[in-house]
C-alpha cells in the first residue's frame, strides 16, 4: 500500500514538473476585414496568420510556448473594429493584436490600444498610422509615399517632365493623389491633368480624353482593381501612346489578366517583391523568405499569395521575434519589436526603432514592367 502511495506521489510530482516545463501559451489577436468591401485585404491576412500559427505550433511553439490565435472579422467597419479590439483585450486577454486591414479602422482602434497598452501591428498602409510615432502602434505595409517616390524616380530617369494623374476616389486613391502631387512638386514635375474616377466606374474614356488633350509625358494611375484595368483598356481604345505607371495596388497577375496582356504591355509599376519573387536574383536577401511563404500559402489554400497576406506575415514575424527574445507580456513584446533591429520580411527588410515604427524604405518595392503578359524587373 505504501509502495502504491509512493508511486502515485512520484507520478503526481512528475506531472507537475513537466507542466512547469511547458511555458504558458501566448495568445495573440487578429482583426481583419474578412468580409465586406475590403475583404480582398482581410481574407489573405487571416489565412496567412492562421497558417503561420499552425506551423509554429506544429514545431512545438516558440521557446516551448504554444501560440493561441483569436481572429475576429470587422467587416471593414471602424465601429465594429473598436468593439472587437476591446473584446480581444478585455475578454480574450491577448498580448498583441495584428490588424486591422484598413487605415480607417486602424485609426479608430489606436486609442484603445494606447489606453490598454497592448501592441498593435496594423496591416494598413496609411502614413498617419505611424507618423507621428505612437508608443504601442506599428505597421508592416510600406507607406504609400514610398511607392509614389519609386514611380517619380523612374519618371525622372526617363526624363519625363509633365505628368497626368488619375486616381480613385476612395481613401487609397486620395492618399496617393496627395502624395503624388506633393512629391511631384518637390521633384520639379508639372502636373498637367488631375483626374479622379469612382471605385465602381465602368468607363473612364472621358477622363482619359481630357488627359490625352493635355499631352503629358506620362500617366500615373492610382487605384485597386478593377478600375486600373478598365483604364488600361480605355487607354488602348483611345490610342494613347504615353507611358503609363500604375500603383502598387494592382501588383498582381490578376491586373494583367483583367486588363488583357496586349493593353497592359509596357505598363510600369512599383511592386512588393512578393509579386515578382521568382524573378529576384538568387542573392536577394528576401528571396528565401518569399519563396517559403509563397510555396506554403499555395499549398495550404490553393491560390496565389498576395502582398496583403504578407503584411500579416510580417506582423506575426515581429511578434514571434520578440517572444523568441524572451518577451511574454504586452510591454515586453512592444519593447522587443522596437529593439528587434534588422528583420527580413515579406514586405521588405524592417529596421524598427523608437523613431520609426514602420521601418521600411525604398527597397521594399521593385519597379516592374509588363512584357508579354508577365512582369519584368526594370533596372
Amino acid at each position: 500500500m505504501r509502495k502504491l502511495v509512493g508511486l502515485v506521489c512520484c507520478f503526481v510530482l512528475l506531472c507537475c514538473t513537466s507542466a512547469a516545463f511547458a511555458a504558458a501559451p501566448i495568445r495573440i489577436g487578429g482583426l481583419f476585414a474578412v468580409t465586406g468591401p475590403a475583404s480582398f485585404l482581410g481574407e489573405p491576412e487571416k489565412n496567412t496568420l492562421e497558417m503561420l500559427v499552425k506551423q509554429v505550433n506544429a514545431r512545438g511553439g516558440i521557446k516551448g510556448s504554444k501560440i493561441e490565435l483569436v481572429v475576429y472579422d470587422t467587416g471593414g467597419d471602424a465601429t465594429k473594429a473598436v468593439q472587437l479590439a476591446t473584446k480581444l483585450i478585455k475578454n480574450d486577454k491577448v498580448v498583441a493584436i495584428v490588424g486591422p486591414s484598413t487605415t480607417g479602422e486602424t485609426m479608430a482602434v489606436i486609442p484603445v490600444c494606447e489606453k490598454e497598452q497592448i501592441p498593435l501591428i496594423s496591416c494598413a498602409a496609411g502614413i498617419k498610422i505611424t507618423d507621428p510615432v505612437k508608443k504601442w502602434v506599428f505597421k508592416t505595409p510600406a507607406n504609400d509615399h514610398v511607392a509614389a517616390e519609386k514611380i517619380l524616380i523612374q519618371a525622372q530617369k526617363a526624363k519625363q517632365k509633365t505628368l497626368a494623374i488619375i486616381t480613385v476616389s476612395d481613401a487609397f486613391g486620395a492618399s496617393g493623389r496627395e502624395q503624388l502631387k506633393q512629391m511631384a512638386a518637390k521633384r520639379g514635375f508639372k502636373i498637367v491633368a488631375d483626374e479622379v474616377y469612382g471605385p465602381k466606374d465602368t468607363d473612364m474614356t472621358a477622363q482619359l480624353t481630357k488627359i490625352k488633350a493635355a499631352k503629358p509625358d506620362a500617366i500615373i494611375c492610382w487605384g485597386t482593381n478593377p478600375g486600373p484595368a478598365v483604364i488600361t483598356r480605355n487607354i488602348k481604345q483611345l490610342g494613347i501612346k504615353t507611358p503609363v505607371y500604375q500603383s502598387h495596388g494592382v501588383a498582381s497577375k490578376k491586373y494583367i489578366e483583367l486588363a488583357t496582356p496586349e493593353a497592359a504591355e509596357g505598363v510600369m509599376l512599383p511592386a512588393g517583391k512578393l509579386a515578382v519573387y521568382h524573378l529576384l536574383k538568387k542573392n536577394d536577401p528576401q528571396a528565401k523568405v518569399l519563396k517559403e511563404y509563397a510555396d506554403s500559402y499555395r499549398r495550404n489554400y490553393n491560390v496565389e499569395p498576395s502582398t496583403f497576406g504578407g503584411y500579416a506575415y510580417d506582423g506575426f514575424a515581429l511578434i514571434a521575434a520578440a517572444v523568441k527574445g524572451g518577451a511574454q507580456t504586452p510591454a515586453a513584446i512592444r519593447d522587443g519589436i522596437e529593439k528587434n533591429g534588422k528583420m527580413v520580411g515579406v514586405s521588405g527588410i524592417f529596421h524598427m526603432s523608437a523613431a520609426d515604427h514602420n521601418g521600411l524604405d525604398l527597397s521594399a518595392f521593385e519597379m516592374v514592367q509588363v512584357r508579354k503578359g508577365d512582369w519584368v524587373i526594370m533596372h
Binding site: A229, G239, K254
Partner: protein, 290 residues
C-alpha cells in the same frame, strides 16, 4: 475635337443604363414595385456566363444562353417565393423585400464564386474602331445593337401581341384587367421573367468591357433606376432616351467639368427631375377621369 469622344463614350454607357432601366420599368408597370434586385440580375448575367465558360467549358454563345436561362430561373424563384406569397402587401414592403433579395443574391454569389473581379473575352476582338477623331470598341457596337433590338422587340411585344397588351392592361388597372379575364399573377410572373432575362442580357454584353464581380450590380442598378425615372417609368423610348441622356451628361460632366463630380451630376439630375417633373421627362402629366 474631344467633344465627339465624350458623346460616344456617353452613348455607350448610356445604352447600358437604358437596358437596365427598361427592365426596371417592365416590372414596375405590371406590379407597381421597383425591383431593387434588378442590378443583381445584371451581375448574375455576367458572373454566370464566366462560370459557364470556365467551369462547364461551354462555348460563348451556349454560355450566354445558359446564363440568361439561369438568371431567369432566379427571377422566377424570386417572384414565386418572395413576391407572390404576400397577397395584400403594400408596394413599400415589396420594395423592401427586393432590397433584401438583392443582398441575399449578392452574398450567395460572393460565397459561391468568390470576390475576385473577372473579365469575359470580347465577342469580336478589341481592335478600336475610329469614328472621326473618336474611337470605340467592337463591343460597343454589340451593346448598341442589342439595345436597338430590345427596343424594337419590346415595342412589338407590348403593342402588337395579346400577352403584351394584357400586361399593359394590368399596369393600367389590375382589377379591371382581372375582370376581363386576364390572369394578373401570370402577368406578374411574366414581367419578372422578361425583366430578369433582359437584365442578365445587359450584364452579359457589358461584362467584356466593364468586367464583373459579385458587387457590380449596385451601381449599375442605381444608374438604370435613374434612367427609368427620367423616362417616367414607361417601358418604351422614354427610358431609353433617359439612359442615353444620363450617360452623355455623365461623360460630358467628367470631361468638361470635373471627373470628381461624375456620380454627383447623375444623382443631381435624378433629384431635379423628381422635384420638377416627377412624371418623367417625356411623359405628359396624367389626367384622372372621374
Amino acid at each position: 475635337m474631344e467633344l465627339l469622344q465624350f458623346v460616344i463614350s456617353g452613348l455607350a454607357t448610356g445604352s447600358i443604363y437604358a437596358l437596365i432601366g427598361l427592365s426596371f420599368a417592365i416590372i414596375f408597370n405590371s406590379t407597381g414595385i421597383i425591383n431593387f434586385a434588378q442590378g443583381e440580375f445584371v451581375m448574375l448575367g455576367g458572373v454566370l456566363t464566366i462560370c459557364a465558360i470556365t467551369l462547364l467549358k461551354l462555348p460563348l454563345l451556349a454560355a450566354i444562353l445558359a446564363a440568361v436561362a439561369g438568371t431567369t430561373l432566379v427571377g422566377i424563384i424570386f417572384e414565386r417565393f418572395a413576391i407572390r406569397p404576400l397577397k395584400n402587401a403594400t408596394p413599400l414592403s415589396l420594395i423592401i423585400i427586393t432590397i433584401g433579395a438583392s443582398i441575399l443574391i449578392r452574398g450567395v454569389v460572393m460565397l459561391l464564386f468568390g470576390k475576385d473581379t473577372q473579365a469575359l473575352p470580347a465577342f469580336s476582338g478589341t481592335t478600336p474602331i475610329e469614328v472621326g477623331s473618336a474611337t470605340l470598341l467592337p463591343q460597343h457596337l454589340w451593346i448598341f445593337g442589342v439595345t436597338i433590338l430590345v427596343i424594337i422587340g419590346s415595342r412589338l411585344f407590348f403593342h402588337h401581341t395579346i400577352t403584351g397588351k394584357a400586361m399593359r392592361a394590368c399596369s393600367f388597372n389590375r382589377r379591371a384587367a382581372s375582370l376581363v379575364g386576364i390572369s394578373v399573377w401570370r402577368m406578374v410572373l411574366l414581367s419578372f421573367v422578361i425583366s430578369s432575362a433582359l437584365g442578365s442580357l445587359a450584364g452579359v454584353i457589358i461584362a467584356p468591357l466593364t468586367m464583373t464581380a459579385y458587387d457590380v450590380g449596385v451601381m449599375l442598378g442605381l444608374k438604370g433606376f435613374c434612367a427609368a425615372i427620367m423616362g417616367g417609368m414607361g417601358s418604351g423610348l422614354g427610358t431609353v432616351l433617359g439612359g442615353l441622356i444620363l450617360g452623355i451628361l455623365e461623360s460630358l460632366g467628367a470631361g468638361l467639368l470635373s471627373s470628381g463630380y461624375k456620380d454627383a451630376i447623375a444623382f443631381f439630375i435624378l433629384l431635379l427631375i423628381l422635384f420638377v417633373r416627377p412624371q418623367g421627362l417625356f411623359k405628359k402629366g396624367e389626367t384622372e377621369r372621374v
